[in-house]
Symmetry: D2
Subunit: 168 residues, 4 copies
């Protein structure tokens, strides 16, 4: 996997549900914050096609557009307990389309040795007024491609698709 950004995220006491683990819903908030941290930080090496290293992806998008979530898929592999030290979200780009793109993630320990969840999100750029999709600019596309990596190694979906394929 070429380029993976690793975002440390504090676990909150309130993330833990009555089962004593990080609640399944909260993982989606971790993914959201990984996206937001990534897009609010200076592009640095991902700058190009007109964007400066000090720009953030969020600034490239600007106040007139929304980046909306179109779809999430998440697999839970291991329960995650409360601890005062952060957990890590690895985030990368798995696809860049005309006005949409996809993030892949793993929620894991810093060294990648333990993976708590794998996930994928489809994002779409839309105009705030009209709600209609807007094409990615070259600078946006350049940043997304710098962040691109392998498909998410989902375990359960792969099994399902193999089964489907076998049934044909």
């Amino acid at each position: 996997m070429a380029t993976v950004i690793q975002i440390p995220l504090q676990i909150r006491f309130g993330d833990i549900d009555s089962y004593g683990h990080v609640n399944n819903v909260v993982y989606l908030q971790y993914l959201e914050d990984a996206r937001v941290q990534l897009t609010h930080t200076a592009l640095a090496d991902a700058a190009g096609a007109g964007a400066e290293p000090h720009h953030s992806f969020y600034e490239l998008v600007g106040p007139e557009l929304f980046i909306l979530v179109g779809r999430h898929e998440i697999e839970y592999l291991l329960p995650l307990q409360f601890r005062p030290t952060p957990v890590f979200v690895n985030i990368w780009v798995t696809k860049v389309g005309g006005s949409s793109f996809e993030f892949g993630y793993s929620v894991a320990e810093a060294d990648g040795g333990t993976i708590y969840a794998l996930a994928a999100t489809s994002m779409v750029l839309v105009n705030r007024s009209t709600g209609r999709p807007v094409r990615l600019t070259d600078a946006q596309r350049h940043a997304l491609e710098t962040w691109s990596g392998d498909p998410v190694p989902f375990r359960r979906r792969a099994a399902a698709e193999t089964a489907l394929a076998g049934a044909k």
Copy 2:
């Protein structure tokens, strides 16, 4: 679709994010509460194979087992705004396995005329001490089968799978 249970859910002011819509993460909480409302309510017509109508599915599972989420998939179709009246989650069962089963959902208006999101969840029954899967009992299976319905009519996944199939 044979049997769909419709659960009214209050939208909270805190569900609305800075974009002015129900945040994408919060939908997963709506799904969770639909599951919890369904499983904490008397089985009524879904009782059988030893369960009484006044039992809840939660009681059939008992305190020694967890019902864990293995996987979620969700598609966002329309933004949902704050309002003092509830939104509705339709919930049904799409698959029953040995120790696992799947829920399908739509987040929608009461009459089904407007659908905000479609989703699916894989659940697995595990022992709280060992963490190992536990087989569904006949009474649990009976209830789940009473609640069963059609596959979730995902729009984007369907397109992706068609593309995959075409590529073979």
Copy 3:
């Protein structure tokens, strides 16, 4: 207590923390939703001084002003467990000032027999652009006065103040 509005609120599974009770933070969200339900519902009997019964307090405030929270005080009296049926927030007004007012609340069973928490909030009306306080209109004041009731019967604060007074 003259006029108390009672708002049913659904408990969410995610409201429960690892102690097995509704988390202390979540009560503040219940108070927020009681305020929002009250202010987004038609004024009915609280209309007057120019407001129509079909108006909501929120409409009287309009899009150019914020109603901000200045201060909260909350006492927790009994733990609250998850259940599929709602808990009730009783909400009333304890004070109306020039550009501010105060809500009193109890989080309780419908019949008032069990009280889980008592709380008070100072609200202030401010201009969204300048952030400066804005005077309540006659119609707003009329509604707030219709909703007014006794001071919140805090138990621990009262003790503290008696102690303070005794120490003088």
Copy 4:
């Protein structure tokens, strides 16, 4: 103020409400996480009366007791916006009783130059089985006293109490 512990807290995108600021309810979660970070970290200099520096306050309390919130009081001074860098919660102890104690907090910039909120919490130690208060041990008391500082400089309450005192 003698001893103040400063806890950095990540702001989450989901903390921001439709007004574009950190929601008033979320501040209470920041206070909770400051308490939890403080009590889950090694005591270090606060060890004594039998506790070792590597122990945490949480370990001194043990699994048979709950530390419950009895009361919160919070004043909001300035709105707080989303940013990828943390905000800081300063936390200290303002009172130690027989089986209870009080925390004071400010939510602020690292240098204390900007204060977003001031708050206080009464905590009580109770037995998980009986729900009855349990006396603080010497080691717990020692740690709390090491963390002790000035009363919280509330602005609005002070005004109210002065008024009350004047009325006598």
